[in-house]
């Protein structure tokens, strides 16, 4: 019973991380049909910042990681994606794949293939004793952080003028432009928010592992992307729930499956992805709104 509660909380915190990754990807996708493979490299950039700055000063590391993540996100927007706005989603996907590979090699050249380690957020790696149950403090912090960010993004999208413009532009880009919304600015804002979310993911993951390598962000991005696609990239709530489910199920599988199946758990997740895509190409939570199937 107690171990059930513990593994549930772990699963919720894993789900929260992937939900944040999926939200970052879903926001950008919503506004410009770009399924951004390179989101992982934004996460990696933030993670390197955390690792390098944490020993100096932790508030500096936190602020620095957000600044770096937002800068990398904006840089890839202005250097590449802003020029491809009228391209098809498939072209954008290939381009973001390219950006991702280039950045990975750049990190490789700058920081080496080996992991860089630092005790980021070491105080969070203790566990709290609540009666008979031990819960890792990091899990709680991750869940709370994710909840706060989700609420903030929601408030931003529904209560601020720029947020409403973002929503309008992702609902109907052409109409939004006709109504005078500056699409370039709105897209840049969206990239910046996805950068902030990536920094949060980086914080949770580096605190967990304490080490970064050039492909650090790939795993979270893949599962976030996969979750977002399964939930429905067309709808933000779909992306978030999808990302959360992938993290939640993966974590539960890790703790409950017999070891020999465990080797195949990633394969199982991807099989589920294929099944979902075939039967519900718009995602499970996209509702009945038909997306053009071309």
């Amino acid at each position: 019973m107690t171990s059930l509660v513990q593994s549930l909380i772990d699963a919720i915190s894993a789900g929260a991380v992937y939900a944040l990754a999926a939200l970052g990807i879903g926001l950008v996708f919503g506004i410009m049909r770009l399924a951004n493979f390179a989101h992982g490299e934004i996460i990696t950039a933030a993670a390197y910042t955390l690792i390098f700055l944490w020993p100096i000063s932790w508030p500096l590391a936190l602020v620095g990681s957000v600044v770096v993540a937002v800068s990398v996100a904006l840089a890839m927007n202005y250097a590449v994606f802003a020029w491809l706005r009228s391209a098809s989603p498939a072209t954008l996907l290939i381009a973001s794949f390219g950006v991702s590979i280039v950045l990975q090699r750049v990190y490789d050249a700058l920081f080496g293939t080996n992991v860089r380690a630092a005790p980021v957020g070491a105080t969070l790696n203790q566990s709290l004793q609540l009666g008979p149950i031990r819960i890792s403090a990091l899990a709680i912090v991750t869940i709370v952080l994710a909840a706060i960010l989700l609420i903030l993004v929601q408030l931003f999208l529904t209560r601020t003028s720029i947020g409403l413009q973002v929503k309008a532009a992702s609902a109907d880009p052409r109409m939004a432009r006709i109504l005078g919304i500056r699409s370039g600015f709105v897209i840049a804002v969206t990239f910046a928010i996805s950068g902030v979310l990536a920094a949060a993911v980086a914080f949770a993951l580096t605190t967990q592992s304490g080490a970064v390598d050039p492909t650090f962000g790939v795993q979270a991005t893949l599962f976030g992307l996969v979750g977002a696609v399964m939930g429905g990239l067309g709808k933000l709530s779909g992306s978030v729930v999808g990302g959360f489910s992938v993290g939640f199920v993966l974590s539960l599988l890790t703790s409950w499956l017999p070891p020999w199946i465990n080797d195949f758990r990633t394969a199982l997740v991807y099989v589920v992805v294929i099944i979902v895509l075939v039967f519900a190409p718009n995602g499970l939570l996209a509702g009945r709104s038909s997306k053009e199937r071309t």
Binding site: L93, G98, I101, A267, Y270, V278, T294
Partner: protein
């Protein structure tokens, strides 16, 4: 009715016969690959090593083109079939003693299986084609982004299974060694040429024509009675078989095979070659592979340090993929149709068009903004 055509016009007519124009689209890529191999193997020993991998990449890119070029659907999954081909080749050609020692967990049938290299290559093609066929039956209803993600998921599934299932391969995460190298560079080139010929023949089949119709207009083609799903399955299976051939060649070129080699880097570099050359033409697949392979070789030389006069130029490792990534992004930005702009090699003596142009008839030029015919932008 008219007076007889002048002799030079008859000569022109012969030169612009459709047979020659068509054959030219095959002869040029074949000749280019032949020249590339001949020149490359004359340069240096290190060039010959790179050339071996370049020819394998060429087969992968032609396989990718067979599906993506004709159907306009994105696939990130072809490296899975390459892996299947490499597995077939390795399991059938590793000497029995080594196999018994290194791959002790195999199914007994696989443990005893053994085949001549040429046969193993065909088995690789067959297995690649079969896995592609089975996955196509599931995946080929998807387009665009969904197809991209789903084929990517397929790659992950296949690689995970090959990594961890020790009944069909090495123990988790280990590699297969001791693969013989039965084909020399010439033979590999001939196999690549055969794959190009097969891909070209397929391109001319009615199935491929219908598939291209669906690529250019996914609404009108089914409305004209074309079963898009069926032709996509055919293209995907065939390109899976080509990828299986590439995998078998890869195994005997590299001689060490491990599931982690069939990763995103290989997927990206082959797709990049296709995009750079021009995704919609066989000629583009060949051009892209040759250009990038030459570039890679030069960068490889620079990485190991090259003496230019008094100073030594050397690049940091990983510069190949950085360059490739930058080039592919530049191509997508500046010339989305790739180097060839999606066109096949053009017969130089083409007959001028005889029909009256709309301008000559006093009509405004016809433009169809809805039909986007520029390279990757038709990929759905």
């Amino acid at each position: 009715m008219n007076e007889r055509t002048a002799p030079h016009q008859r000569w022109r007519g012969l030169l612009s016969s459709p047979v020659l124009t068509d054959l030219w689209t095959l002869v040029v890529p074949l000749g280019a690959v032949y020249l590339f191999t001949a020149l490359g193997s004359a340069v240096s020993a290190s060039a010959r090593v790179d050339l071996g991998y370049a020819l394998v990449n060429l087969v992968i890119v032609v396989a990718l083109w067979t599906f993506m070029g004709n159907s306009g659907v994105l696939s990130f999954g072809h490296v899975a079939f390459v892996a299947v081909g490499a597995w077939s080749m390795s399991l059938l050609t590793i000497p029995a003693v080594m196999k018994a020692n290194l791959l002790s967990g195999l199914f007994p049938a696989l443990q005893d299986a053994k085949a001549a290299p040429a046969l193993a290559l065909l088995v690789g093609a067959l297995m690649g084609g079969l896995v592609a066929l089975v996955s196509a039956l599931v995946l080929m209803r998807l387009h665009g982004l969904e197809a991209g993600i789903a084929t990517f998921a397929l790659l992950q599934v296949v690689v995970q299974v090959l990594t961890n299932w020790d009944k069909v391969g090495p123990k988790s995460g280990q590699s297969m060694v001791g693969i013989p190298q039965p084909f020399d560079l010439q033979t590999v080139m001939h196999i690549a040429l055969i794959v190009i010929i097969l891909a070209w023949l397929y391109q001319r089949s009615s199935s491929a024509r219908m598939l291209r119709a669906s690529r250019d207009n996914v609404v009108a083609a089914p409305a004209s009675g074309i079963n898009v799903f069926r032709h996509r399955v055919i293209a995907f299976s065939l390109s899976g078989a080509f990828a299986g051939v590439a995998g078998a060649l890869w195994a005997q070129t590299n001689r060490v095979v491990q599931a982690s080699q069939f990763n995103l880097d290989l997927t990206f570099s082959t797709i990049a070659m296709l995009v750079i050359g021009g995704m919609l033409s066989l000629w583009g697949a060949v051009v892209g592979t040759i250009v990038i392979s030459v570039l890679n070789h030069v960068l490889g030389l620079l990485e190991s340090g090259l003496d230019v006069g008094a100073l030594t130029v050397s690049l940091p490792g990983g510069s190949r993929l950085i360059t490739l990534g930058v080039v592919v992004i530049l191509v997508l930005l500046l010339r989305p149709g790739g180097i060839t702009n999606g066109k096949e090699a053009v017969w130089p003596f083409r007959r001028e068009r005889r029909y009256l142009s709309p301008a000559a008839l006093g009509a405004p030029p016809i433009s169809s903004p809805t039909v986007e015919r520029r390279g990757v932008s038709t990929i759905r």
